[in-house]
Amino acid sequence: MWRLVALFFALGAAIFLGMMSALWTTGLLGKPGVDFADVDVAGWQSDWSIGSDAAGPYMRARIARHGLLALTKQEAVYFTRRTDDDGRALTEECTYRLTGGRQPAEWWSITLYDSASRLPMNEDNALSLDRSQIGSVDAWGAIVSPIAATDSAFWISSRNAGEFDLMLRLYRPTQALLASPETELNTPSIERLGCQGGADE
């Protein structure tokens, strides 16, 4: 009898362990933010198999959790960045200057998401920046902070975001970008300007 109980207990523990490890490796449990690795250009990470049959089971699970209804690379590519130019995690306790230039796509946008891949719960109406706001200028800049910027035309609010990431969407990317993202992507830089409450340390 005890052997049978022990067998069922061991079986249940094995199944539990297997399921929990699956949830952890795919980002559904305890692993914040999306985790791409296929393409990495100066910290902006993506995966060209997003949305396609070519995506492996782990990538498909991660996308389902962090980018449901994503398009294939021919229509759109998605780059995510979770750190500033010095490799420190992005957090609402700090203010950043985001600068960039023209992008190799018909239309692009940069949107801020919290660690649960949600738009942060605020009513600032400053969740993203896109090409139609910027126009056709060669260089642009924006402030990412929890308080409205006074010295910049463009502001992305990080209020109530905690640790966050920025997602660069490129719709109708050029073939050159798909072939050689390392040389074609005009990577926006993220400079940390300062932090509240000693978070600068």
Binding site: G18, A64, G67, L68, L69, E75, W107, T111, S128
Partner: protein
């Protein structure tokens, strides 16, 4: 062989099987939950609904873009129906119509037209063998849905209030409806 070694191998084997099964089940599970949420929020089956502009308060899926409008049609093609007819109203800005199966695969995406509707016939997986998709019906594109359930999503760029007004005016002309099984309606 030592019985403890056998027990350890069985334990690891069960854990690996559970791990693999869970990883493969996640996309379908997440998609099912998303569709349930959409249903709870009133999105109809076999009909397009223009979702409210994505805000922190209205988001129903992860990572919505606040610069795009989303017209969504949930579909579930019964065995006794041939498929689905889908058409996107013309829009004079960036727009795309994309198709997702119940496992989250984006099985087709096409740019919407600005001068005329963009029509499709989607054939349910049950009728795949009966349909020749090598040629399309002249005025529409034929697609095979890998699963009976899924979503059709029309994205339109609405970064400005004027663009949003234009989308609200034309989105009512988007069409998503079941087709009875009739060879004349299917791509041949």
């Amino acid at each position: 062989m030592n019985k403890w070694v056998i027990a350890l191998v069985m334990f690891v084997g069960c854990a690996v099987i559970a791990h693999w099964w869970t990883v493969r089940a996640i996309p379908g599970f997440v998609m099912s939950r998303a569709m349930d949420t959409m249903e709870e929020r009133g999105l109809p089956l076999h009909g397009f609904a223009l979702a409210p502009l994505a805000t922190p308060q209205s988001q129903t899926v992860v990572r919505p873009s606040p610069d795009l409008s989303y017209s969504i049609c949930r579909f579930h093609i019964p065995d006794d129906y041939g498929g689905l007819f889908v058409s996107a109203a013309p829009f004079d800005g960036y727009g795309s119509i994309s198709f997702f199966d119940a496992r989250t695969n984006n099985f087709a995406t096409v740019r919407t037209r600005s001068d005329a509707p963009t029509p499709f016939t989607i054939v349910g997986p049950r009728h795949v063998d009966a349909v020749d998709l090598s040629s399309d019906v002249p005025d529409r594109t034929g697609l095979v849905a890998p699963t009976r359930q899924g979503l059709v999503l029309i994205r339109r760029l609405t970064a400005t209030a004027a663009a949003r007004d234009r989308v609200e005016a034309i989105a009512k002309d988007d069409v998503c409806q079941l087709l009875p099984y009739n060879a004349d309606l299917l791509p041949s």
